[in-house]
């Protein structure tokens, strides 16, 4: 049974902060098929299209029939832990400071043998289920979990290296004015975050939900205006060193396209709040997060981008909105590369229209802010990198995978 995590003590200010390290993240191009699956929390291996052999390690040629048609497919993740060892001596600096480290050989029911990290509740000879996780390098690794959930299993130190569980972490919700920001504050409080900083711009502008927000125990309202570089910088200077997760809830949803729009004011606001706001956050908080990637139990762990799924393909009804979201998506890819040395997970959470006022005229299905917030928390608990929440997001993603051009035409009609 996993020892439950204890609330970390206040940091000793005389103690040096441990610098973040990563395991080797180099992978073959094919092996990044696992990374793609891990990013979304799926367990997928190559399955030969011709002879159905399930393949591991990733190959470019089927070891059973030499076919080169080897797509990644979801596979039943169950198997037996045949043998285990505890690595005491490692050549890698990351593992050296984390040994003893258990690894084992899992014989998957589906066929192949997988060397995997072991959750503390797995036992040699017992059945296990494998999960693909992103390690601190951002590449995929297999981790064997106990067949059935065990008490406090999320607190396993090996597993916590590959997740960013909000429990005992300190979170910044960048904009608490919106229903999404408020739902997020509640979800993180429910998930055991020790402090939930909630940013509010223009505090002289009243807004609904403020009183409820104040009643959430770990919530601390802080001044934060993403359109104001100085405000973002000041917040980072003040609280950055005790913020482990940043969730950017700033939004600017307006209907209307590019051609049929009068002037730039709205577009500029969208870019200012969404894209430039993200850049301001990245510049102010990114370096601090990156430096604190190995700072004990509540090490910095994630930067969460909430993105319209139409960042992936423009929805002309909300055309300039989609374009601003696309800019944020692109920035997120850059941030991933830049924050990787700290092991910071830049998690992109894609959603369709929300049950909020700015999507008032959009027909259902629409996503409740609370559902979005729960998905964010779950994604962090599972260590995901790309999360698609709700029917519309899933639908757009599926259609995009099949035929992007068809999706472009469909969204235009």
């Amino acid at each position: 049974m996993t020892e439950p995590l204890v609330r970390p003590k206040r940091k000793n200010p005389l103690q040096r902060t441990r610098q973040p390290l990563s395991p080797q993240g180099l992978r073959s191009r094919t092996a990044h098929g696992l990374t793609a699956a891990a990013a979304e929390g799926r367990f997928a291996l190559q399955v030969c299209e011709d002879c159905k052999t399930v393949i591991y390690p990733p190959r470019d040629c089927c070891p059973s029939c030499l076919s080169v048609r080897l797509p990644f497919r979801d596979v039943v993740p169950n198997g037996v832990l045949v043998a285990e060892t505890t690595v005491q001596v490692s050549t890698d600096s990351y593992f050296r400071e984390r040994t003893p480290w258990r690894v084992g050989t899992v014989k998957l029911d589906a066929g192949p043998l997988i060397v995997a990290h072991l959750h503390g509740d797995t036992q040699e000879g017992q059945r296990v289920r494998l999960a693909l996780k992103l390690d601190k390098s951002g590449s995929a690794v297999a981790m064997a979990l106990p067949e059935k959930d065990t008490p406090n299993m999320a607190d396993d130190p090996h597993l916590r290296e590959m997740t960013c569980d909000p429990k005992f972490r300190r979170v910044l919700i960048t904009d608490g004015r919106s229903p999404v920001g408020q739902a997020m504050a509640k979800a993180f409080a429910d998930a055991g975050a020790s402090i939930v900083f909630v940013g509010i711009a223009d505090p002289w502008k009243p807004f609904p939900g403020l009183d409820a927000l104040r009643k959430i125990a770990p919530v601390e309202i802080v001044p934060l205006d993403l359109t104001d570089t100085e405000s973002v910088t000041e917040q980072a200077e003040q609280n950055g060193a005790r913020i482990d997760i940043v969730v950017n809830t700033a939004e600017h949803v307006r209907s209307g396209g590019i051609v049929d729009r009068h002037g730039l004011t709205v577009v500029r606001e969208q870019i200012d709040i969404r894209y430039l706001g993200l850049v301001r956050l990245a510049q102010a908080f990114g370096p601090i997060l990156r430096a604190r990637g190995a700072d004990d139990v509540n090490a910095a762990g994630a930067f969460v981008n909430l993105l319209s799924v139409h960042a992936l393909m423009n929805w002309p009804t909300y055309g300039s909105y989609s374009a601003a979201e696309a800019a944020c998506l692109s920035a997120a890819h850059c941030m991933r590369a830049e924050l990787r040395p700290g092991g910071i997970n830049v998690m992109n959470v894609f959603f369709g229209p929300l049950e909020t006022e700015w999507f008032q005229t959009v027909p259902p299905p629409k996503l409740a802010p609370s559902a979005l917030a729960r998905a964010v928390v779950r994604g962090l608990q599972e260590g995901l990198e790309d999360v698609f929440v709700g029917d519309v997001a899933e639908d757009v993603r599926a259609r995009l995978a099949v035929n992007p051009k068809a999706l472009e035409r469909e969204l235009a009609s």
Binding site: D202, P203, W204, K205, P206, P223, D225, T227, D228, T229, E230, S231, G263, T265, V266, E269
Partner: protein, 257 residues
Amino acid sequence: MTVDALSFARAIAAGQIRVVDLTQTLSQDFPTIVLPPEFGQCAPFRIEEISRYDERGPAWYWNNISLGEHTGTHFDAPIHWISGKDLPNNAADTIDVTKFIAPAVVIDCSKECAADPDFALTIPFVEAWEARHGKIEPGHWVLLRSDWSKQDFTKYANLRDDGAHTPGPEPAVVKWFVEERDVHGFGTETIGTDLGQGHHFNPPFPAHFYMHGKGRFGLQCLTNLDLLPAKGAVIIAAPLKIKQGSGSPLRVLALVS
């Protein structure tokens, strides 16, 4: 009377004429007017460092700023309002520059405003003021002292779910100022020259409607009006020369002898 510009400068240097700054500091958190979100919005003041003696510019410090024409302490030109759109010389760049220096009267409503944030200035109130201070002469700014500039930003904007609640003039007194007193313009300490609830008047926003309709000017977000005499101050309020500008942030100075 011989007017000597040099003597004027000497009087200022010698402190015989006081200069009072009526301007709020341009800062990011100073409230701007809030319109319903589906309308276009006035940009708040923003400042981005270009360099500060660093790799972006080793020996110099400077900033790029962005803001709306109606951000911070600002001047409203007649072209700002639909009622003044067709007047000659109605924009920031075309207004006769002599209009940028004019005397002012200050009507102290601070007690009334403290008691009622929706305080509306009326003709009888002004007539009572004139009974004490004399008639308002033509060509004067009328400045409404509410001490609103001394509030914190939340009370300053004073937004409730039915909108802002800040003092201003009722329609009749504005019309009267223009038609009966031939005033130069109207100035306030609040975010607008009109009441926060001024859109419920007929016409809505009467200070804008009547003043600009007759080619008069507006000043808002003023401060330090409590340092001015009821009569006798001269206002220097020269907006930036923005091409077809509807107004402009500016430094407003009062000269008091």
